[in-house]
Symmetry: C2
Subunit: 288 residues, 2 copies
């Protein structure tokens, strides 16, 4: 089938055709696919956070809430560590399985390892396909903490960061630079000890809105949906620029961490033969 | 008095002469002072962490412990926000006041604003003066969380990071890149709820040794001293290189945050006219 035929079949309800289109958009026929698709409006809500914080449970709760509002919902679950998923359309997440047969829900695992241009290029192409297939909302779930989530945050509005109570998840998110790009912070597992205190401390530390959620019990979901909608109404160019600023710095830092001269410079400084400031300048290609 | 005369007077016990020498070493006569001083061995233990975590209380407890071991102890308290302190020799920290009259203890506030080369240059010069004056150990306390503490960590062995229980301090320290350069993590105020849990989470998250302390009550101090001594015995060139690596990256990141093109690039990306990866490359002065 041509791309046009696939679009027609997918719009007529073929799950198989939709999966084939997404595979093409993720792979080496991306330019051909996106060129054949009409531009259409779609919203992207990001859900990210450390492993075990309850991202998938939160996503499942949001699927239910937005279906109730009459929206067609797609989930893009990004797992950088998983191999290319081929045409597999359905996620294997147990809690999402309830929605697998629903024609208004599409769940897609997006592997990024070895992809052309990585997540930064693959996600917008997949989102474009989903828009053309008349989905109203994409829930973009990223697994793990790292560069990918910084990239995701820049396309999502809002970017929701889900954390478990306590210091562990908060530290992971802070180290990844994630707290700075989060629009909404969610402390999940709010029935656990210390959840309110963690929320209070994160609010004081980040100046961001922090919500309490017990996603598996459904508690706090209406407030989360309301916060998502309120954020969308209030997003501004200044806020977007601030998010992008952090994103650019995170990408630059990732590049510096992989700089071929870093280990040699560190050894020189450790041996007392070089000054750390001069080494930093050398890393940035600057003369003193 | 010449520098040689000041050294003689300070070694004979003149607090005033010691203060004058330190002022000269912090200021524009640094090269002259350090050239006149004999090289002498001295240990530097760093104590850092967010405001309110109990750094000064921890430092006071360490002063007491090392005096008991027969060492002469100097404290360099670095406060980047305070104005130049002139010849003032004694800190105004209430808990340290007990040691103010002890001839084996010297407490010095080191302001870094406007200093030549900042903390990275001022601290080694002050340490050199203290070594020449026959102090055995410098406790280097930095106030606030930021670049200065990363710089401090590189000269200290070990660098101790003091945090209060909960997520707030841990997040501040992680954002500052401080957890990566910490040799020992201390959860102070161990009598508070959740201290043991915070210690457990930090241990899992950082892979570092984490100690519980109630410094104001003196609990946990012997274990902290033992950990300091054990770390000193086990420090290796590989560890020092890893610390320096983080230090160089932190200094490079600080330089990038102040890059004159960053705001313009962020606005371009936010407006969709530039790609974030290309903007990061531009920040690093690289061609794509």
């Amino acid at each position: 089938m041509t791309v046009e035929e696939l679009v027609g079949a997918a719009r007529a309800g073929s799950v198989r055709a939709a999966g084939r289109l997404l595979s093409l958009a993720e792979g080496d026929r991306r330019a051909e696919v996106t060129a054949a698709l009409p531009q259409a409006a779609i919203r992207v809500v990001g859900v990210t956070g450390p492993p075990g914080a309850g991202k998938s449970t939160t996503v499942s709760a949001l699927i239910g809430a937005y279906l109730e509002r009459g929206l067609r919902v797609a989930v893009l679950a990004v797992d950088p560590s998983s191999p290319y998923s081929g045409g597999a359309l359905l996620g294997d997440r147990i809690r999402m399985a309830a929605y697998a047969a629903n024609p208004d829900v599409l769940i897609r695992s997006l592997a990024t390892r070895g992809h052309l241009g990585g997540l930064a290029a693959a996600v917008p192409a997949a989102v474009r396909v989903l828009a053309a297939l008349s989905y109203d909302l994409v829930l973009l779930e990223t697994v793990g903490v790292g560069q990918s989530e910084i990239e995701v945050a820049a396309v999502a509005d809002p970017a929701i960061v889900v954390l478990a109570p306590g210091a562990g998840d908060a530290v992971q998110a802070a180290k990844a630079g994630l707290l700075e790009v989060a629009d909404l912070l969610v402390v999940n597992k709010a029935d656990r000890d210390g959840a309110e205190r963690t929320a209070r401390e994160l609010r004081a530390e980040t100046g961001r809105r922090v919500l309490l959620l017990a996603a598996s019990a459904g508690r706090g979901v209406p407030a989360l949906v309301e916060a998502v909608e309120a954020h969308r109404r209030s997003d501004t160019p200044a806020r977007r620029t601030a998010r992008v600023r952090t994103q650019i710095l995170a990408m630059a830092q990732t590049a510096l961490r992989a700089h071929p001269d870093l280990d040699r410079l560190a050894a020189e400084v450790a041996a007392g033969r070089e000054d750390p400031g001069a080494a930093a300048d050398a890393l940035l290609g600057r003369q003193r």
